[in-house]
């Protein structure tokens, strides 16, 4: 038993930590949030140059060939920002889906480009009902000569606003299978419409008679698309979990600092038990998310049965980030609500990630199944 990171992981952690501090300071994050899209931007270009977008890409396809735990270390630090952009969506979920479902040729085409950030491939799965089950995919790929036509829309697509390409879940002509097609975001008939409000880089993607080639179908078949996506989602969840852990850690540190320095009634507010209890609730959520996430990463890395752990990690992690932000607001009171303070960057991110890849309730139900109940 050894719950420590390896020396390499420790080094990665500190390099990413410095990178986020330097390239994504609060002011930059606020500007990006106001601008509506995290890409293109200077810090994103630098992020792509690091090669980190290829952390999950095997060496043979031009990536870093890291373990999931390595990815967890990276994304935990990115989560402290929270650094926006299609790093998880493309660099983890997109990459794993191509790895699981692509032909060798598709892997050779896509993975090196994704690893270098020259393309981003953002999965577009959910529709108006916002469900993560196969039956929720309605968008059809209608046969059209050698290819397909798409008409309809995907909604609440996380990171669609900064995708070069979309990896779109579509129903086969007969309707009984779900496959995945790659579509350039710039293709004629594709419209990406950011959704305004208390949401983090969510967009609607409309497909208006969009032409898709036969070769754009992942694995060149509808047979295995959904399974590939599920496999990839299971592996992405604890990496997303690590991102959320980083977010929790950031708001925890903010809250501790504030409670040590903010003076009211002649004393630092951290001296009041009620303020302490907000922070204790927060750190309990943080650590719950941390250890359920780490264990899931370890199980997947070591090929242990991990289904329970994956559902547990998403349920606990998403609830944790959501609640951690609420507790941080209680510690900060009015100040936390001010945009310039930076806490609301996390609060906003936590709401979108709460649902992304299935909300806690969804994963609790699946956990019951996984437990054989």
């Amino acid at each position: 038993m050894d719950l420590a990171l390896t020396p390499d992981q420790e080094m990665l952690k500190s390099v990413v930590h410095r990178f986020v501090q330097q390239e994504y300071p609060k002011e930059t994050l606020l500007e990006i949030a106001a601008s509506g899209s995290p890409t293109p931007s200077e810090p994103w270009s630098k992020l792509a140059e690091t090669g980190w977008l290829g952390i999950a890409v095997p060496l043979e396809y031009g990536g870093e060939g890291g373990t999931l735990t390595d990815a967890g270390v990276l994304f935990e630090e990115l989560g402290r920002g929270p650094v926006p952009g299609p790093h998880i969506t493309s660099g983890i979920l997109g990459v794993f889906t191509v790895l699981a479902g692509g032909t060798e040729e598709q892997k050779r085409e896509w993975l090196p480009l994704l690893a270098r950030g020259e393309r981003t491939l953002v999965p577009a799965v959910t529709e108006a009902d916002y469900g993560w089950e196969q039956e929720d995919v309605r968008l059809a790929a209608h046969r059209n000569g050698a290819g397909f036509r798409l008409n309809g829309s995907k909604v609440y697509v996380f990171d669609a606003n900064s995708a070069s390409h979309l990896l779109c879940a579509v129903r086969s002509e007969g309707g009984d299978q779900v496959g995945l097609v790659t579509v350039p975001a710039s293709a004629p008939g594709v419209e990406v419409r950011p959704l305004p409000g208390f949401s983090w880089n969510m967009a609607e993607v409309k497909f208006n008679d969009v032409a898709v080639g036969e070769s754009d179908l992942l694995g060149l078949s509808f047979d295995s698309g959904w399974d590939a996506l599920q496999w990839a989602i299971d592996r992405t969840i604890p990496v997303l979990g690590a991102f959320q852990v980083g977010g929790c850690q950031a708001v925890y540190e903010m809250s501790v600092d504030y409670s040590r320095t903010r003076v009211q009634f002649g004393t630092p507010v951290g001296r009041f038990q009620r303020v302490q209890d907000h922070i204790i609730n927060l750190v309990n959520h943080l650590d719950s998310a941390r250890w359920t996430t780490y264990e899931a990463l370890w199980k997947l890395d070591t090929d242990r049965p991990a289904q329970e752990s994956v559902h547990l990690a998403k349920a606990v992690g998403s609830e944790a980030y959501h609640q951690a932000c609420n507790y941080a607001h209680e510690v900060h009171a009015g100040l936390g609500g001010m945009t310039e303070y930076g806490l609301t960057l996390h609060t906003t991110a936590s709401r979108t990630l709460y649902h992304y890849l299935g909300n806690p309730r969804f994963h609790r139900l699946r956990l019951a199944d996984a437990l054989g109940l």
């Binding site: 009620r274 009015g334 001010m338 309730r361």
Partner: protein, 411 residues
């Protein structure tokens, strides 16, 4: 026990009168933007005009004494007015104002006869809009830790300092506030309570950018501001309750703000909207309200809102029947704040990301659900944080301090 206002025939006639009057006087195009920051100036002016007309009828502050511009009406009549305007999604007053309910109440209790005559009729008749200025950078939960000063100079006070999280969009005619009148006096004995005209030279108003500015409900506060006082000269007449008596004066409006006022109207627009949305929108081929997961959470929302409604009603009744209160005011405030936060999570579960956008096509209930997600978080803090409400509750229960604290004087 009787949980409904009982109406005599005469009162029912009064209800008809109010209803008819509102039908005639209500602007046709009243809108309720989910985020009150989106209320236009034109809309604001329409609401002010409605307020003035209500004021002229004596229906704006219906129970306030006639001699100070109020309606001199009974509590039941005021409930009727509130219920009827609630049908339009509005409250009394139909815009953000802290004059009648809070500041006016303090002046009624602590002002001199001359001050009452001077300030109250304009407030009660809706001719002026009033802001409260309480928080400062160093006076948040510790509200008595005021740094802004009012130093006597002849017949005036010279005011300097800064107040934050103030008011609404579109300015105010009056601002009432606590200022240090004696820098050397001990805590709570160093303050004066002032009613300051908003147009005095040296006052600057600067909007604050926030996740949301507050304001659930129809009143619509719009944005919050920082108000700077730079050598503002305020006549001594505007000091209410006497020099260094400000904290005592403040207890009255703080008590009211901490939930002691209560609420009689039964409607909860947010819950109504949510239920309506879930009954009329489909998920997987059936109304959301038929989805077992959604049903569980809808019931959770309902239970929370019922308890909040009952606490509000109890306090309304206690106040108007002059039943002595102890912890009920801050309990009402505390419960509502935390309950909203819990409800926001339930709604997030029910609606998914449709609760996170005000996109005109996709945002649930035209963005009202999205705004609630934000306001539930931010709403925990104004008018005494949830933590502070618990501090006050504990004192009133008699465990927070050696001597059990009494509730503030309300009338």
């Amino acid at each position: 026990m009787d949980f409904e206002p009982r109406y005599t025939e005469e009162q029912e006639r009064f209800r008809v009168e109010v209803r008819e009057w509102l039908k005639e006087n209500m602007p046709e195009d009243i809108v309720h933007p989910p985020d009150s920051i989106d209320l236009t100036y034109e809309q604001y002016q329409k609401r002010r005009e409605l307020g003035r007309r209500l004021g002229d009828k004596g229906w704006l502050w219906a129970t306030a004494p006639v001699e100070y511009g109020g309606g001199g009406l009974t509590v039941d009549q005021s409930v009727i007015i509130e219920e009827e305007i609630d049908e339009y999604g509005l409250t009394i007053p139909p815009y953000y104002d802290t004059g009648g309910r809070l500041g006016g109440a303090s002046i009624l209790v602590w002002g001199s006869e001359e001050q009452k005559q001077h300030f109250l009729p304009n407030i009660m008749k809706g001719r002026v809009r009033t802001w409260q200025l309480l928080s400062e950078p160093e006076a948040g939960s510790d509200l008595a830790n005021v740094k802004a000063t009012a130093i006597r100079d002849g017949d005036d006070y010279i005011v300097n300092g800064q107040k934050i999280y103030v008011g609404s969009s579109f300015g105010a005619d009056y601002m009432w506030t606590l200022l240090v009148t004696d820098p050397d006096a001990p805590r709570h004995q160093n303050l004066g309570w002032f009613m300051i005209p908003g147009d005095l030279p040296g006052i600057t108003i600067q909007p604050m950018e926030m996740l949301i500015s507050g304001g659930e409900g129809g009143a619509g506060s719009g944005e919050k501001n920082t108000v700077y006082f730079d050598n503002v000269r305020v006549p001594a007449f505007n000091l209410v309750g006497g020099e260094n008596q400000g904290w005592k004066v403040a207890t009255t409006h703080l008590e009211l703000e901490h939930g002691a006022g209560g609420r009689a109207a039964r409607r909860n627009w947010m819950v109504d909207r949510l239920f309506e949305y879930c009954r009329t929108h489909q998920r997987r081929g059936q109304p959301i309200s038929k989805d077992p997961e959604a049903r569980d959470r809808l019931v959770d929302v309902f239970v929370e809102s019922e308890i909040a409604r009952l606490f509000g009603m109890r306090n309304y009744w206690m106040r108007h029947s002059k039943t002595p209160m102890t912890y009920e005011g801050p309990q009402n405030s505390y419960f509502r704040k935390m309950s909203n936060l819990r409800q926001a999570t339930y709604i997030l579960d029910i609606l998914g990301p449709a609760a996170l956008t005000y996109d005109p096509e996709l945002g649930a209930e035209d963005g009202h659900m999205e705004a609630f997600q934000r306001s539930a978080i931010i709403g925990v803090h104004p008018a005494g944080t949830a933590d502070i409400q618990k501090v006050i509750m504990a004192r009133r229960i008699g465990i927070g301090r050696e001597v059990r604290e009494k509730a503030g004087a309300l009338a």
